[in-house]
Symmetry: C2
């Protein structure tokens, strides 16, 4: 008998299943804050303020103290303290909680997960403030990507998981002949305990697919947020635990693990424990590599980003190209793993309706368009947001210094003021021009508002360098502006060999760094940027197996000693 | 337009897709040699003899010499020499062959793979002799498991792969609003080059799922057979190359890599190369562990086996239980990864219709039934086959010696004669009785005809020890004889936690070590016996990703600098 929560949300699940199969546009959760009530944002702010200067309540086992020291990139100290629990305590509680959750079955688990999403959705406004003041995103972007779009990603994972889990029947009557009749039962069984490691810049958007894929397939989940962005995932865990408890399950199926500001030791400790069988991680490449080299008992779902390339060969509308590119470079101050990093332009020039544009001219045009965009403070603040980490500022400074002497600075990065938050950490994007030979400038991801224009001999060299960069250093996407069919065809070959999503001739508000839920595949697993694709069958099917019980149901017949009579 | 080979085999594919969804009994390929013609086995023998004392023809790149030195466990030297090719030559050829194979699309690739299976099926009789004289299996078993049932496993993998590849449409029109309209195309793209490492005892049955899952999803495959069992996979590769060539594809999509009798260096060399992105391995745990620790650039599908446990609590028919268990222990001389290794019996006794049976009595009864079974030479030869490796004989000797002084030998292993092959390496199974405290005897896989009866205090201790053994050392299956419902329920919990297939009360010819294609899941990936389950969605979906190309198809509209208008 399906669980009432499954019945309540079944229509949404059906729509989600249709959406992953059709891959047309679908937004399951309203994306406009006003849809959540006239006062939604005000109420969200009040709720957010109530968490500040207080102890965050979570009734978890293995308590050893409290910690937490988040400071908003907008300058606001949050002063929230979280319960610190031992990894062994959380793992033991997770294991104890597992079996009833598994036995509850696919529909009940899915129903409970859908209810968690519904509650998270209702809390989107307070989540927006939590995200804004931990990641630095503008309020608008924090609401959108951290709320409804993150929830949509969770729902997408649930739809894929439900499809994968229901591919096999609950039972089968198997009979080869009179002496070989078996009654078989199949049940979705989890791999073990799942560890979801949150990132600093998109904590909910990145964690929700993992959280819901693991939980719905029967795995208890330990959520380990980034120390600078605990609150969004603490809110998430609190909601999940509440719903689990109300539904009669052990809330320790979802727990929060927090550590010191430098929590690398905690992470390295838990990641290698034999009971941790699934690890999802989004973040810096060094920890990704460490996990790959060390957490070999677990299946890894790692996204570390890479060097997303842009190739500009020719364009129907050069101005629209520039505007689209500037928006992509500015969005969230380049702090998305999908942000374009390197732009290849051939010295043979860009073919446009108004004539050829050489790389120097392109650099000037892009710098100008960028300048025009950031000169309007309110608009700039809304799109750029604040810079999450001081390390990003240091990176901008280092690249600037290097470029001063060995390359061309097309546009300097400079601090700008936020209209409301005087202490906000805000800088305009840095734009550097280099030659194809200066590989140090572009064969490495430089996370943040830093973009490099590379001038090449011709389109073939651009294609070859883009392929080499993306294959060796990883990439999530490849943006190409080309009107010539053979360049488009070559670009497709490059995209297949490099394992990147290819976007052709994007203009308007269609941004290469805003993957669309239920339609776009994020990462491929075929280059170093990620070890998996999100969200596809492998992303969910790797988290469970079909447990099988079979029983001989004949009165035992005499056996004639033949293997297969 | 679907390829003609796809049309030819579409009905079979449809049936296979139904079979994986229903999981009732289905044998796609005839299992009786006579179905292949009155003279099929005779013709197969002639074909097999033609390979002996000759050079095996394969027109592969990177040729550096020839090698090969297989000797049949029945005493016959094969004297077949194979072309030795360099790993870099095979990898380069594989990469060059890839893109047209990818672009050919799902239906064409699947059609070609189905044709390869049809040709392999037609050659089942010669394959039976090739398998018999490399693995030591009896002719009957070699025909069955190495021919039709191995092919069925290949077909099962194709059915899962086809289902996974067709979950996403070829294209979608995506529109959020007037300024964001994208035309999207999706294509199945491979991870890279796939390395399939064959095993010594079931070279085709173990390799076919990997070969067909990888190839149909677009990956070129390099097949590396075990040095003692090259011929079955060389025949397979030759057939695949022939069909690829006839279909207009580069035959280097499937190649054979052979090395010296000790080919560990070749294997370790190729397994770590960056272009190798998928590795399938079935065999000894040490190489499995080495791959896990070293081939970290690849996705691994490893099956190394473990300690399959049996728990005997109570029985409806004690005699039938004994007969079934003896048959399982004898089948292929315990050289299946699914063979039961350890039998737990409580000192409280086995409840049977004829009264309680204590562990001592059970040991005597099992030894007696085993003796009765092996005393009939023709039947024994057919079920036991020959012992593939001299290392297995050494293992029998070592356990016997240890047991002489510290345990009870319930039945000695002794050489027996084969009716036709006087030089055949044949030994009866060794049966040892120990106490629960003697963990060294059972907490380790002892591959071959060696079984251990462990006496425990009670059923609870049996369950706990079985769980600990299977969780720590890995296992594929758990055979339980229990009439008491609570013992069955506990056994189910153990099976879920340990990640093993649970079989209850098997008698007759339903053997725990003969997994049924299209119905049983082989391994779970949830314990050390294997890193994956075969065959499920994860097994195929991990081999490809959805490559995506999207294009803005509006005349670029003006952009109002909003992220999401």
């Amino acid at each position: 008998m399906p669980h009432s929560l499954f019945d309540n949300h079944r229509a949404l699940l059906d729509q989600a299943q249709t959406a992953i199969a059709c891959r047309t546009h679908w937004s399951p959760y309203a994306e406009n804050p006003r849809s959540y009530g006239e006062m939604a944002l005000e109420d969200g702010l009040t709720a957010f303020e109530a968490y500040r200067n207080a102890q965050f309540y979570l009734d978890q086992p293995g308590l050893t103290g409290r910690c937490g020291g988040e400071i908003s990139p907008y300058g606001l100290p949050l002063n929230v303290s979280y319960p610190r629990c031992s990894p062994e305590g959380l793992i033991a509680a997770a294991k104890s909680a597992m079996l009833p959750w598994v036995r509850a079955g696919i529909e009940t688990r899915t129903g409970v997960c859908l209810e968690i999403l519904a509650r998270l959705n209702a809390g989107s406004a307070e989540m927006a403030y939590a995200l804004m003041h931990t990641t630095g995103q503008s309020l608008g972007l924090a609401f959108l990507t951290g709320g409804p779009r993150a929830q949509a990603r969770g729902l997408e994972a649930l739809a894929w998981a439900y499809r994968a889990m229901t591919q096999v029947p609950a039972q089968a009557a198997w009979q080869r002949n009179i002496s070989q009749r078996l009654e078989k039962r199949y049940m979705v069984a989890p791999l073990g305990v799942s560890l979801v490691i949150g990132c600093a810049t998109q904590p909910t958007w990145n964690a929700y697919p993992a959280l819901f894929a693991s939980l719905s397939t029967g795995n208890p989940v330990i959520v380990k947020p980034h120390p600078t962005a605990v609150l969004p995932l603490a809110l998430t865990v609190a909601v999940a635990r509440q719903v689990l408890k109300e539904s009669g399950f052990d809330p320790n199926l979802v727990t929060l693990l927090v550590g010191d500001p430098d929590d690398t030791p905690v992470l390295r400790d838990i990641a290698r424990r034999p009971d941790i069988r699934l690890i999802d991680y989004a973040g810096a490449p060094d920890m990704g590599a460490w996990l790959r080299d060390n957490a070999r008992q677990a299946r890894l779902f790692i996204e570390t980003g890479g060097v997303n390339c842009v190739l500009i060969d020719s364009s129907y509308d050069y101005k629209a190209l520039l505007k689209n590119l500037v928006l992509s470079l500015c969005l969230d101050s380049g702090q998305l793993r999908t942000t374009p990093r390197v732009i290849f332009v051939s010295r043979e020039g860009i073919e446009t309706p108004d004539g050829m544009v050489d790389p120097q001219q392109f650099g000037r045009d892009l710098a100008l368009a960028l300048g025009k965009f950031v000169e309007e403070p309110a608009r700039a603040a809304e799109v750029l947001g604040a810079i999450q980490s001081p390390a990003t500022l240091a990176r901008i400074a280092a690249v600037s210094e290097l470029a001063e002497t060995t390359a061309e600075i097309l546009r300097h990065s400079s601090p700008i003021d936020h209209p409301q938050w005087p202490a906000a950490r805000m800088h305009t994007p840095l734009l550097v021009g280099v030659d194809a030979a200066q590989r140090d400038f572009y064969m490495e991801e430089r996370f943040g508002p830093i973009a490099v224009v590379v001038s090449t001999a011709n389109a073939a060299e651009s294609l070859a360098l883009a392929e080499a960069t993306m294959r060796d250093k990883g990439a999530l996407n490849f943006l190409v502006h080309a009107t010539r069919p053979h360049v488009q065809q070559f670009a497709e070959d490059v995209a297949v060999r490099a394992g990147v999503l290819l976007s052709l001739n994007l203009t308007g508000a269609a941004l290469v760094n805003q993957p669309a839920g239920f339609s776009d595949f994020h990462a491929s697993g075929a280059n170093p940027a990620a070890s998996c694709s999100m969200i596809d069958a492998a992303f969910v099917a790797n988290r469970f197996y079909f447990s099988q019980v079979q029983q001989h149901y004949l009165p035992p017949s005499s056996i004639d000693w033949l293997v297969d009579p």
